[in-house]
């Protein structure tokens, strides 16, 4: 017994407290009852074994006997990136993250965790009651919308200033033109290279 156990206990409790806030994620994890998913943090030399319970709460063990059902290994940053929907597959194909064992299980497990979506309004309603929670939720959403609108308009203004007025950055049409030119040049160079190779081959043939 050591600090390791204390850390595992703390991590497990935190994780389960988060899972308590998203019943849907717990339903997804409960379907994996008894399966062992190991996460190896490369570089740190840390190994975490997750076992899903009947109610979707997780048990975190430092060691398990026998092979786990599946193992995800990678550096901490790669593993976090891999949980991203758009970047995830690229991480996997680039070989940064490795999956051994039951890959379908690994996917279901990471999707269940990555898809955690906490309904804050529902959680708030336990403390303030439904009506107040709904009003607060509406306020927050309006603020997010307004914030998003202000942010978008500021971004548009800035990019217009940089490209059209200060001309510090090229317009995206100019970039497209430039990229097209580069493509043409590359193709021309390749054609020329092929032609030279052909001519060299012919000269070599004459000599022989």
């Amino acid at each position: 017994m050591s600090l390791r156990d204390l850390a595992l206990e703390g991590l497990e409790q935190t994780l389960n407290r988060i899972l308590d806030l998203d019943p849907d994620a717990r339903v997804r994890l409960a379907a994996l009852h008894g399966r062992v998913i190991r996460i190896e943090l490369r570089g740190a030399g840390i190994e975490l074994n997750f076992v899903s319970g009947h109610d979707g709460r997780l048990q975190l063990l430092g060691t398990v006997e026998g092979p786990p059902d599946c193992t995800l290994s990678g550096s901490p940053i790669d593993l976090i990136r891999a949980s991203d929907k758009t970047e995830g597959p690229a991480q996997l194909f680039a070989g940064h993250v490795r999956i051994d064992g039951d890959t379908a299980l690994a996917q279901r497990f990471s999707e269940a965790l990555a898809g955690i979506d906490i309904d804050w309004e529902e959680q708030l309603s336990h403390m303030t009651g439904d009506i107040a929670a709904h009003e607060i939720g509406r306020g927050v959403r309006a603020l997010q919308r307004e914030g998003g609108r202000v942010g978008r308009s500021a971004r548009d203004n800035l990019s217009e200033y940089l490209t059209e007025e200060a001309r510090l950055l090229p317009h995206h049409l100019e970039i497209e033109d430039f990229l097209r030119d580069v493509d043409t040049l590359r193709d021309d160079a390749e054609r020329l290279e092929a032609r030279i190779a052909l001519l060299e081959g012919r000269m070599g043939g004459d000599k022989a």
Binding site: M1, D5, L6, L8, E9, H33, G34, R35, V36, V51, S52, G53, H54, D55, R57, Q59, L61, G62, T63, V64, E65, G66
Partner: protein, 250 residues
């Protein structure tokens, strides 16, 4: 022929061997309701780490059959039921009906179903067939059993070859300064806590006394070996205040 009356200890008192089970029953009938609160309070929450350590040593795999003796409110059984998965089975047992009832209510409230069974069982004569279980655990229970040798032999009999038994129990502190502090704590602080929270200082005095009467690490290990267990090992936790004994049947 004069039949010799066997005596045993109940805390620091010497009592008739036939009497101990009833006295222990009185203690646990009295504390069942406040059991979880008192555990957290008395051990400052460390009992969770002791149990976590024992669970890793148990090495439970999906599909296994696990017997948890003296389950109490089921801290170990709760975790085992998640580890064995839907295809496994955990038998949650206690000799005390009040404790078992409290434990069963807690497990049902937690939504366990299908892979968890309950039974009132005497550890000295287990009602299970020979070679039928993968793991038997007894956490903070062996101390209260009248004939510990009989309980260990019974556990050995019911285990499958390749199975293992785990005894998590208070033991003898291996660090000297800790011993003094521990004595002060168990004979002065503990009964007072019991009086304040559970309104039952005597039961908690028994707890402290029974811990002192329990065999130390080496003695218990020898007892397990005498019962037939092989590759026995001892793991001291929190300076030996608690120890996990593990033995295998081959």
């Amino acid at each position: 022929m004069v039949s010799k009356r066997q005596s045993t200890h109940f805390g620091f008192r010497s009592v008739d061997a036939g009497e101990k089970a009833g006295l222990v029953r009185g203690v646990f009938d009295s504390v069942a309701g406040k059991y979880d609160v008192m555990n957290d309070l008395m051990s400052l929450g460390i009992h969770r780490l002791w149990k976590r350590f024992a669970i890793e040593l148990a090495g439970v795999r999906p599909g296994q059959r696990v017997l948890d003796l003296a389950s109490g409110t089921g801290d170990l059984a709760d975790r085992f039921a998640d580890l064995v998965g839907p295809s496994g089975l955990v038998l949650m047992t206690d000799i005390n009906a009040a404790m078992l009832g409290a434990g069963r209510d807690r497990m049902l409230d937690r939504g366990h179903a299908g892979n968890l069974a309950f039974a009132q069982v005497d550890a000295e004569s287990l009602p299970f067939p020979d070679d039928s279980l993968d793991l038997i655990t007894i956490a903070f229970g062996l101390r209260n059993v009248t004939h510990k040798e009989k309980a260990l032999a019974s556990m050995f009999r019911a285990l499958k070859p390749g199975g293992r038994a785990l005894v998590l129990e208070f033991s003898k502190p291996v660090i000297k300064p800790l011993e003094k502090l521990y004595d002060l704590y168990s004979f002065h602080v503990l009964p007072r806590m019991g009086k304040l929270v559970a309104k039952d200082p005597d039961s908690y005095r028994y707890l402290a006394e029974s811990i002192r009467m329990h065999p130390d690490q080496e003695t218990l290990k020898a007892m397990m070996e005498a019962a037939g267990f092989e590759r026995c090992d001892v793991h001291n936790l929190t300076g030996g205040i608690v120890a996990v004994h593990r033995g295998f049947k081959f």
